[in-house]
């Protein structure tokens, strides 16, 4: 195989298996010059990558969920780490006016929220736009790398910012395999996350003109409610088509 055709072969790896087979076969059959063949294959790969971006889905997954959630979830990860550290430091407990059992409760509350937010965000990213997952991943990791670089708290490991990654990856994995959740499950998750957020909303410190950073985390419940909406819509659609079938029969 010549160097030119090696390049064609390499470029063709950007295509799906069957398409790669057909395209390489066509190029061999028509004895395309290697330069034109590389350009043809790269052109097709580029069209394939650009095609999904005509829809709103990759924009929602990447810029609506992955990028903003990464910032907020790093803050939430840090918050979980502080809640954990507080358990072993009586001064911090006293500062927060918490007893040890209530501090454990707060830690569990924060952990549940972090896992719920990360999982639902990951699920939406995975299920909404599978073909552009690479872009959503890049958009999630780029603020992470920036914050890891800028992290300057000596008593904490910088990797505590990334506590959200594991449940988020788990959510993406589930989202890739399923197109949506069942309505009942989605409702339970969304309601639990919302109810757990309410104590933060009504803690007495919140003012609309000086909202603390924690209130931004309300945005993290949106993926859970999006899942409720899609599950409800899927149920309504299947109900409608079921009724149509009955009428036609």
């Amino acid at each position: 195989m010549s160097a030119g055709w090696r390049l064609v072969d390499l470029a063709s790896r950007l295509l799906e298996r069957n398409e790669r087979e057909a395209v390489l076969g066509d190029l061999t059959e028509t004895r395309e010059p290697p330069g034109a063949a590389v350009m043809g294959v790269l052109g097709l790969a580029l069209r394939r990558q650009a095609d999904p971006w005509k829809s709103w889905r990759p924009w929602l997954a990447g810029f609506g969920v992955a990028l903003p959630s990464a910032y907020l979830l790093m803050g939430a990860s840090l918050s979980v780490t502080w809640s954990y550290m507080r358990l072993f430091c009586p001064e911090l407990l006293a500062q927060a006016s918490l007893t040890k059992p209530s501090a454990v409760l707060v830690l569990l509350w924060h952990m549940f929220l972090l896992i719920g937010w990360s999982w639902t965000g990951g699920f939406v990213v995975g299920s909404v736009s599978r073909r552009t997952l690479w872009a959503s991943t890049l958009l999630c990791y780029s603020p992470c790398l920036r914050c890891l670089w800028l992290f300057r708290i000596e008593s904490l490991s910088r990797f505590c910012l990334l506590l959200f990654l594991l449940p988020a990856i788990w959510g993406v994995h589930r989202g890739l395999r399923m197109s949506g959740m069942r309505l009942a499950s989605a409702l339970i998750v969304a309601l639990s996350l919302t109810l757990l957020m309410i104590p933060t909303w009504s803690d007495g410190h919140w003012r609309w003109w000086s909202a603390p950073q924690w209130t931004w985390n309300w945005a993290l419940t949106l993926p859970a409610w999006y899942l409720v909406f899609t599950a409800w819509r899927a149920r309504t659609d299947s109900g409608a088509s079921g009724r149509e079938v009955t009428i036609n029969q």
Partner: protein, 110 residues
């Protein structure tokens, strides 16, 4: 309604019949129109037409001429034939009074 390139592709596939596959369709379009047809345009259009239900495709046999690689075979569906006929009729109708058509009604050709 079909686009111009979609019509060319469907018509080339119809002409090739059971021998319609990527390279053959591409060669047919290039030979008859004298225009270059890129692999990217060909395969993305085949996919679009397939998603509209105008074509079906499947992986065919591999030949030595193709370095042992399979062909992506193409066949028109009745919907595809219908869409191509509609396009052809529309082009014929809109062209009937144009100066370059040989059977122009009530006018001399240039």
């Amino acid at each position: 309604m079909l686009g111009e390139f979609e019509y060319l592709l469907i018509t080339a596939a119809a002409g090739l019949g059971d021998h319609a596959y990527g390279a053959a369709i591409r060669e047919e379009i290039e030979t008859t129109t004298g225009r270059r047809c890129s692999i990217g345009a060909l395969y993305t259009t085949i996919d679009r037409l397939e998603s509209k239900g105008f074509l079906i495709t499947w992986m065919g046999e591999a030949t030595a001429q193709r370095g042992g690689r399979a062909k992506r075979m193409v066949r028109l569906t009745p919907d595809g034939v219908h869409a191509a006929k509609d396009f052809y009729k529309a082009v014929t109708r809109i062209s009937r009074n144009a100066s370059w058509t040989s059977n122009r009604i009530g006018g001399s050709s240039l």
